[in-house]
C-alpha cells in the first residue's frame, strides 16, 4: 500500500507533551517503515523562522511558513509531525484547510500541572514577568473545538497517548494497522495454555 501523506498537528501549552509524543510517534511510524518528518517549534525557530518573535503577527508568520513546508511534504506522501503551541484557533484552521490531510492532536494538561512540571523553567520566568507574551500566562490559548484526538498528559502514560493517536491514524487510513505475524504459540506459551485447558478439564 502506498503511503498516504498526512500532517499530524500537535497543539497545546508549553510542557503539555507535544514534542515527547511526536518523538514517540516518529519512532513508531519509522518502525512500521513509513516516511516521517518532524517539524518542531523549538527547532524551526532556530532556522526556518529564526527572524520571528512571539507577537501575534510573528506567531502567525511562523505557523504560515511551517504550514507551507508541511503541505509540500504531505502531498508527497510523508507523515509530517508538527508540534507547535499554535495557540490561535483561526490559524490552525487555516493550516488545516491549506494542508488538507490534517489530524489535530490537542495535548492537554492542567495549567497547575504545567507550572509544577516546568521542564524548561519557562513558567517560572513567565510568572515573574521575565518572558512577555507567554501562552497560558500572559497570552491566550484557544483550545481546539473538534480535534481528532485529545490527550491528557497528566492522566495518561505516553504509551496510552501514542495508542490513541495511532488508532486515529489507522482509522483514517493514513497508517496501516500493525499486527503481530509470529506463530500463535512459542513452546512455553503452548505449555501455559495447555495447562489452562487442563485446569478446566479439557485435556
Amino acid at each position: 500500500m502506498e503511503q498516504k501523506g498526512v500532517t499530524v498537528w500537535f497543539t497545546g501549552l508549553s510542557g503539555s507533551g507535544k514534542t515527547a509524543l511526536a518523538l514517540r510517534l516518529e519512532e513508531e511510524l519509522r518502525r512500521r517503515g513509513l516516511k516521517v518528518e518532524r517539524l518542531d517549534g523549538d527547532i524551526v525557530r532556530q532556522g526556518l523562522t529564526r527572524d520571528l518573535g512571539f507577537s501575534r503577527e510573528d506567531r502567525d508568520k511562523n505557523i504560515e511558513r511551517v504550514t507551507f513546508v508541511a503541505k509540500l511534504l504531505t502531498r508527497n506522501g510523508v507523515a509530517v509531525l508538527c508540534s507547535f503551541i499554535s495557540p490561535y484557533r483561526a490559524v490552525r484552521a487555516r493550516s488545516r484547510q491549506e494542508i488538507g490531510h490534517f489530524v489535530e492532536v490537542y495535548c492537554y494538561a492542567p495549567l497547575e500541572t504545567l507550572i509544577e512540571r516546568d521542564v524548561k523553567g519557562l513558567y517560572k520566568k513567565a510568572i515573574a514577568g521575565e518572558i512577555p507574551n507567554f501562552t497560558g500566562i500572559s497570552d491566550p490559548y484557544e483550545p481546539p473545538e473538534n480535534p481528532e484526538v485529545t490527550i491528557d498528559s497528566s492522566r495518561e502514560t505516553i504509551e496510552e497517548s501514542l495508542g490513541k493517536v495511532l488508532r486515529k491514524l489507522e482509522e483514517l487510513g493514513y497508517v496501516p494497522p500493525a499486527t503481530r505475524e509470529e506463530t500463535p504459540y512459542t513452546a512455553d506459551e503452548e505449555a501455559q495454555v495447555e495447562a489452562r485447558l487442563a485446569a478446566l478439564g479439557y485435556l
Binding site: 496510552e160 495508542g163 494497522p177 503481530r180 495447562a195 489452562r196 478446566l200 485435556l203
Partner: protein, 454 residues
C-alpha cells in the same frame, strides 16, 4: 419500506451491542427473573424476546462460539474442540483462529464498512484484522499478543483488563475461584463501558467467560443452596444484571441490545473417562501408562482401533488417515463404528445402572462440509450429569470430584434480542450470525447454514 423510512435508516445505521454470557442457561436466567434476582433483565425481557436455544455437539465453548461467529457448522469452520489432532502425525494441537476456515461475523461486518469491537470471544486468538478492535480470548498467552491493533494495547492495560481468571488458583478453593471470577468480571465491565463511551462502533461484543468458570467451580453449591457460596453465586449474577441495566440505559433507538449463552449448565453427577471405556472394551491399548496429563497420542499402541478426545469425540484409527492406522476404510470402518456406537448407548453407570449416553452420532449426522474428514468419527452425546472427559489414562471409568462440579448441556443455551417479538421455535447458535446481520441491515454471505430469526 417507504421512501422516508429508507432515508431514515440510511441516516441512522443500526448498531448491535451483544454480551456473551458463556454457559448461562436459559432456564437459570428465567429462574433469576422469576425470583426477583435479576430486576434489570426482567424489565428488558418485557421489551424484547428471551429465547431458549440449542448449542452444538459437542457443546464446548470453542465449537459453539465458532459456530455462532461464522453461521456455519463445524465441518465448514473447522473447529471441533479445544484440542485436536493431526491424524497423520498423531500430534495434538490447540485449534486457534488460524485454524478457523470461515469468515467471522465481524469480518463480514468489517467488509461492509461497519466498525466492530470484539472482546474475548473464544477462538479469536490470534486476533485476525477487523475494521475496529479485536481482543483475543482466553487462549491468548498474553495480553500483548491478544490485541488488534497493537495501538489499543496501552488503553487496555490502563483499564486493568485481564485475559482470563487463573483456573489453577480457582481449583485450589471455592473462595479463590470467586475472588478470581469477580475480579476479572469487574475488569471486563470497566472495559465494556470504556469502549461503549470512547470508541466508534457499529457492533460491540463483550464476551464474559467468568459465568462459565463460576459454573464449573460452583454450580453444585448454588443448586444445593450452600450457605456461603450460593449467595455469592447470586451476587455475581446481580453484578451482571446491574451491568445489563446500566448498558440498557445508555442505548439510543438505533442500537439493539442482545445477550446470549452458547450452552447450558448442570451439576456433574460423574466424569466419564471415554478412553478408559475404550480400553475396557479392547478398542484402545496403551504402550505405557502415560503421566497425568495427556501429551499427544504417542502412548497409543498401534494395535488400537480407537481413541477419544474431550468431550466424547471418538476417532477410529483408520488406515491411510491416522498414524499407523489399522482399521480398513469401508465395511470394516462402518462395522466398527456401529459396534462402538451401540456399545456407548448400552453403557451404564456402574453405581446405579443409569444410561450414560443418549446418542452416538456418526459425524455426517451432525456435520456437512469440506472439513468433515477432520471431525471425530463418532460424537457421543451424554445425558446431563455425565461429563465425558478425554484423558488417555484413568484408573476408573467414572469419578466424582469436588473441584469441577458443573458441566455443559446442549438444549439450554439462551438468546435475548431487545425490541423484537420473536416466537419461540427450536433453533441453534447457527441462527445468531444471520440474525445480527439482518438487524444491522448487512446482507449475509452466501451459503450460511443458519437463517435469521428476524
Amino acid at each position: 419500506m417507504g421512501f422516508l423510512d429508507k432515508l431514515r435508516h440510511r441516516e441512522k445505521p443500526r448498531r448491535v451491542v451483544l454480551i456473551g454470557l458463556d454457559g448461562t442457561p436459559y432456564t437459570f436466567m428465567q429462574r433469576l427473573i422469576a425470583e426477583g434476582r435479576a430486576p434489570n433483565a426482567a424489565r428488558l425481557v418485557q421489551q424484547g424476546s428471551l429465547l431458549r436455544m440449542d448449542s452444538v455437539w459437542p457443546w464446548v465453548s470453542s465449537v459453539a462460539w465458532s459456530t455462532m461467529m461464522t453461521g456455519v457448522n463445524p465441518a465448514r469452520h473447522g473447529i471441533f474442540g479445544f484440542i485436536d489432532r493431526d491424524p497423520a502425525s498423531g500430534k495434538q494441537f490447540i485449534p486457534t483462529a488460524r485454524n478457523m476456515k470461515a469468515p467471522t461475523l465481524w469480518e463480514v461486518l468489517s467488509a461492509a464498512g461497519k466498525r466492530v469491537i470484539v472482546v474475548n470471544v473464544p477462538v479469536t486468538y490470534p486476533p485476525r484484522p477487523v475494521n475496529g478492535i479485536l481482543v483475543g480470548c482466553f487462549l491468548s498467552p498474553s495480553l500483548e499478543k491478544a490485541v488488534y491493533p497493537e495501538s489499543f494495547l496501552p488503553t487496555l492495560k490502563s483499564l486493568g483488563y485481564i485475559v482470563d481468571a487463573d483456573p489453577w488458583k480457582a481449583r485450589q478453593s471455592k473462595d479463590l475461584a470467586l475472588q478470581e471470577v469477580n475480579a476479572v468480571l469487574e475488569a471486563r465491565i470497566r472495559t465494556l463501558f470504556h469502549l461503549f463511551d470512547n470508541e466508534e462502533w457499529d457492533y460491540l461484543h463483550l464476551h464474559i467467560m467468568e459465568t462459565d468458570r463460576l459454573h464449573h467451580f460452583l454450580w453444585q453449591q448454588m443448586e444445593e443452596g450452600h450457605p456461603t457460596y450460593a449467595p455469592a453465586f447470586y451476587d455475581f449474577y446481580r453484578r451482571i444484571d446491574d451491568m445489563l441495566g446500566q448498558l440498557a440505559a445508555k442505548l439510543d433507538d438505533r442500537t439493539t441490545l442482545m445477550w446470549m449463552a452458547d450452552h447450558g449448565f448442570c451439576t456433574v453427577k460423574k466424569e466419564v473417562y471415554v478412553n478408559r471405556w475404550l480400553m475396557d472394551n479392547g478398542w484402545l491399548r496403551l504402550r505405557t501408562i502415560p503421566p497425568d496429563r495427556q501429551k499427544g497420542l504417542d502412548e497409543v499402541d498401534p494395535a488400537s482401533v480407537a481413541y477419544s478426545l474431550d468431550p466424547g469425540r471418538v476417532f477410529l484409527r483408520v488406515r491411510g488417515r491416522e498414524k499407523d492406522g489399522c482399521v480398513a476404510p469401508g465395511a470394516e470402518y462402518e462395522a466398527l463404528r456401529a459396534e462402538i456406537a451401540a456399545a456407548a448407548l448400552e453403557l451404564r453407570d456402574p453405581d446405579d445402572g443409569a444410561p450414560v449416553f443418549q446418542a452416538a452420532f456418526r459425524r455426517e449426522e451432525l456435520y456437512h462440509g469440506p472439513y468433515l474428514e477432520q471431525a471425530a468419527d463418532l460424537i457421543l452425546a451424554p445425558y446431563d450429569g455425565y461429563d465425558p472427559k478425554g484423558p488417555l489414562y484413568k484408573e476408573t471409568l467414572t469419578f466424582k470430584g469436588d473441584e469441577l462440579v458443573g458441566m455443559h448441556t446442549y438444549d439450554d443455551a439462551m438468546l435475548y434480542i431487545g425490541g423484537q417479538t420473536i416466537p419461540q421455535t427450536r433453533f441453534s447458535v447457527l441462527n445468531v450470525m444471520p440474525t445480527i446481520l439482518s438487524l444491522m441491515g448487512v446482507p449475509p454471505p452466501p451459503g450460511l447454514d443458519g437463517t435469521s430469526l428476524v
